[in-house]
């Protein structure tokens, strides 16, 4: 046997990709553009802009609550896996948490590609049955008087959690506020 540093799956993917490219079925430059987009351009910084705008602009917040897809598009943000958006607003009484138990549906247009844990069996199985246990895995403890609202993304609607604005940020501008917003807080597994 000859030694190879390539795993079986790497070999499979290389064979598939080279066959598709040589057959003219894919444009290698398009593959590069797709990966570049999701590795470097689309990410949670986009969702953070939506959240920060909702914090500073009451009228925007109202539009985001009424119909999130056009409200998000106002900021130039749209696209695949974000065609039908709903914004969920955390309050002192209600905490929202988003999951996809069936596969890994996730609002790519505002958060980018999902992390491995979001796509994993532990998260997908427990988020609906034991959301407080899942939050504890992230170091988040909510009071017993806070109700936890879990949203299982079982269709093409994608959910963005708008976390509560941290106290003491009244003087902060929109860009500074956006920098405070974490990906996890927009999935609902983190607080700010």
């Amino acid at each position: 046997m000859t030694h190879s540093d390539l795993s079986d799956v790497q070999v499979r993917v290389r064979a598939l990709e080279s066959a598709l490219v040589s057959g003219g079925h894919v444009d290698p430059a398009a593959l590069d553009a797709l990966v570049e987009t999701y590795e470097h351009q689309v990410g949670p910084h986009l969702g953070a802009r939506v959240v920060a705008r909702a914090w500073v602009d009451e009228a925007y917040r109202a539009r985001l609550a009424e119909d999130a897809t056009p409200a998000i598009a106002e900021l130039g943000i749209s696209g695949r896996q974000g065609e039908h958006m709903v914004a969920l607003f955390n309050t002192p009484e209600v905490h929202h948490l988003v999951v996809c138990t069936l596969c890994s549906c996730y609002p790519w247009s505002v958060l980018g590609l999902p992390p491995v844990w979001y796509k994993s069996a532990p998260y997908r199985s427990r988020a609906v049955a034991d959301p407080r246990g899942v939050l504890a895995d992230f170091g988040v403890t909510l009071g017993p008087d806070v109700s936890v609202r879990v949203w299982d993304s079982t269709a093409e609607v994608r959910y963005l959690v708008v976390p509560m604005r941290p106290e003491g940020t009244e003087a902060s501008g929109e860009d500074a506020l956006a920098a405070l917003v974490t990906r996890d807080s927009m999935i609902g597994v983190g607080t700010l």
């Binding site: 799956v9 444009d27 398009a30 069936l102 590609l113 609906v128 017993p144 879990v150 299982d152 269709a155």
Partner: protein, 196 residues
């Protein structure tokens, strides 16, 4: 897999990269590029990924499932004749694939209606999670008139249906082992529901 026990705790990775191996980049690119060719739709591709023995499904990583699904799609349908170019990528991604359609009839349910999910166990593709079958909940939102994955996944048409967010209490879904201070909403297509 909602509600299934035994998978252990969620283990977030610190400073997680988007890709953990070069081949994962390739799989993402290939799936999106070939998917844009229009030979199959998103529901056919989900079904190609998910319709496999549970042991196999659970043993594969996310991108391994994507790869296996893509191999199956290419086996069954062949490569698309329309090839996505690099120049088209920004517009194609920005447009995405909206699934809302012009309604051809009124919605059967309204916000606040009590509904029960049917006890459906189809052999084919469905988006009604097992843990939410034969349960009573309340319509919380009317999302619109959307392509129906159960039919669209068979390649026989879009068969759009009204789509609702339906809220269930943790106790309704999971009994005394559920969390009574939590509620779970699923997005349920009208054929999954009956008046409660």
């Amino acid at each position: 897999m909602g509600g299934v026990h035994g998978f252990g705790p969620v283990v977030p990775e610190v400073d997680e990269p988007y890709f953990h191996a070069e081949w994962e980049r390739s799989v993402l690119g290939l799936v999106l590029a070939l998917g844009a060719g229009g030979k199959w739709n998103i529901d056919i591709s989900r079904h190609a990924r998910e319709n496999r023995p549970p042991g196999e499904y659970l043993s594969l990583s996310y991108y391994e499932i994507w790869l296996a699904g893509l191999e199956r799609l290419l086996d069954e349908h062949g490569p698309p004749t329309r090839v996505l170019t690099a120049e088209e990528v920004p517009a194609v991604l920005a447009r995405g694939g909206p699934v809302d359609r012009e309604p051809t009839r009124g919605a059967r349910f309204a916000v606040g209606d009590a509904v029960r999910t049917l006890n459906l166990n189809p052999r084919g593709h469905t988006r009604l999670p097992r843990y939410a079958r034969d349960k009573t909940g309340v319509v919380e939102r009317v999302h619109g008139f959307h392509v129906f994955p159960d039919v669209n996944s068979t390649g026989t048409g879009e068969d759009p249906q009204w789509l609702y967010a339906v809220r269930f209490s943790g106790s309704e879904l999971f009994g005394p082992d559920g969390d009574p201070t939590s509620a779970v909403s699923i997005d349920a297509f009208e054929p999954y529901l009956e008046p409660a």
